[in-house]
Amino acid sequence: MSPYAVKLAVRHLLAHPGQTALLMAGVALGVAVFIFMSALIGGLATLLTQRTVGSIPHIVLEMADRDPAVLAMPGTAQVVLQKDLSRREQISIWQPAIPIIEKTSSVTAVSPQIRGSAFVERGQAVAPVGVIGVMPGKLSAIADIEGAIIDGTSSLPADGILIGSRLARDLGLRVGQVVRLSSDRGRARRFRIGGIFTLGIASADRQAVYMNFTAARALFDLPSGISRIEIKVRPATAAPGIADRLRNATGLKATAWTEDNSQLFEGLDAQARTGTIIKAFSLITIIVGIASAMLLSIVRRQAEIGIMRAMGASKRLVISIFVLEGTLIGFVGAIVGAAAAWAALLPLPPVTEVRSGGLPIDRAQGDFLLAITLTTLAAMLASILPARNAARIDPVEAIGQ
């Protein structure tokens, strides 16, 4: 690209400020749409993912299922050794696995738990619940129970429990009341309601009961083992890979959240594809706009091009001038569009603070650099064909006009 081509291209753009500004505004609009769509689709994916996985474990480690053994016996008889259903599935030796899990990259929280089914009884009212026994300091490791407390406190003494707001409403329970919990192991104890939480997940708010780890051991007759280990990772989308690593490292059965939420992934994929199509159309619009403008410009400037060619300007110089003009329109338009989009998105709240009815726009996922790069490249490509046409102009015909 010769300095003279740069000079002529810039001079022409500056000599026609109205036309140049209009073209750049068109490009800027396309870029702003591109960025807005990226930020919206990205923000929506973040919001949906957050809402879906924010209060659930990303990976659950449990005792691996053992297939019933087939014992080889001489003759025709076959003996199958079946699973002992009279005993609760538990991870008996779990302490050595915890440091291994904690040291695994991307793991942000680990919570060994004792889980079981029980009934909450208050007078004649009975409701089935899922009890979660958590270790001290691990109450909010998976779901932010402490932040979700709407009444009482989050402390868990040996005789205290935390219940969901829907359960409290269904049974007419309040903080400070005592209820009886009967486990599926035939044990029953009385607990005082220390706090009521609202997670915003109907099943948890109606059925989850949190209690002290030691109390859960007693209630479910698990003197040493645990039911499961729940894990949080960042990013949540990395869960399947980390689950594989933990499966190999611990020998436990590892289930990533994605296995139970494939529909969400399909939805996000479809949404991302829609966004890509809209962004592609933005780019195509930019390409068509620039190509049309350049073609019109070339028709208008035929005599100029002809005289330059007659005076010894090479085809390469003519191509350079027009490609450069198109590229500059694309680049400057893209910068303006990106700046405008950035300014327009600035007042919008972050995805984490979006209220119902608001647009979940994540400015960080606006793909600003990608938009600028792709638009500049698209503008350059859009100019090549018109520029080649310009270089092919016959000086004799052009000058004769």
Partner: protein, 228 residues
Amino acid sequence: MNDAAILAVSSMTKGFGEGEAKAMVLKGIDLEIGVGEMAALLGPSGSGKSTLLSILGTLMRASSGEHTMLGTDLMTASEAQRTAFRSQYLGFVFQFHHLLPDLSALENVMMPAAAAAGRETQAMRARALELLDAVGLTDRCNYRPSAMSGGQRQRVAVARALINNPVLVLADEPTGNLDRQSADQVMDLISSINRTTGTSFLISTHDEHVADQCARRIELLDGRIVCS
């Protein structure tokens, strides 16, 4: 070819179209232009003057015949070679000035040299100022074409034709779009340049007054030279 000739064509023809529809515009041209010569190319409309000038200026190829200039066979030269040759040895003045509207007079004069070199240099600027001085437009060097009169624009176009120190300037009706006073100024300028620099000029014109200022008359009729 005469030793003093810078350009020679012989048996040159040029036709447009194909088959029976083919129209022969030039029908066997033999012509030489000498060093420092100032010749007028005359003929009625449709006689082939513009086509001949376009071929001599390497803007168009002849259909057949020989075309050499300064020892270069321009019939067989590639398009890139012809472009480079044009830039180095030929200058053009057209009926319409065809100055680039976004450039000043000075930048327009520099254009052929800058386009060939890919950049503007101080030497080009100095030479362009010298030429603008020669055509009496030093005070207009920063004016855009739109701010100048028709005669001034054509004088800028003459200066532009000379920036690369061409051996031959081809002028197609250089005064055809000017009033008599401006036309005389332009012709005086061309004659002066021809005398002082030895640059050859071939001027296509309908105007006998212009032809009278040239040392040689070449008359073209129906694609043939009838008087040279």
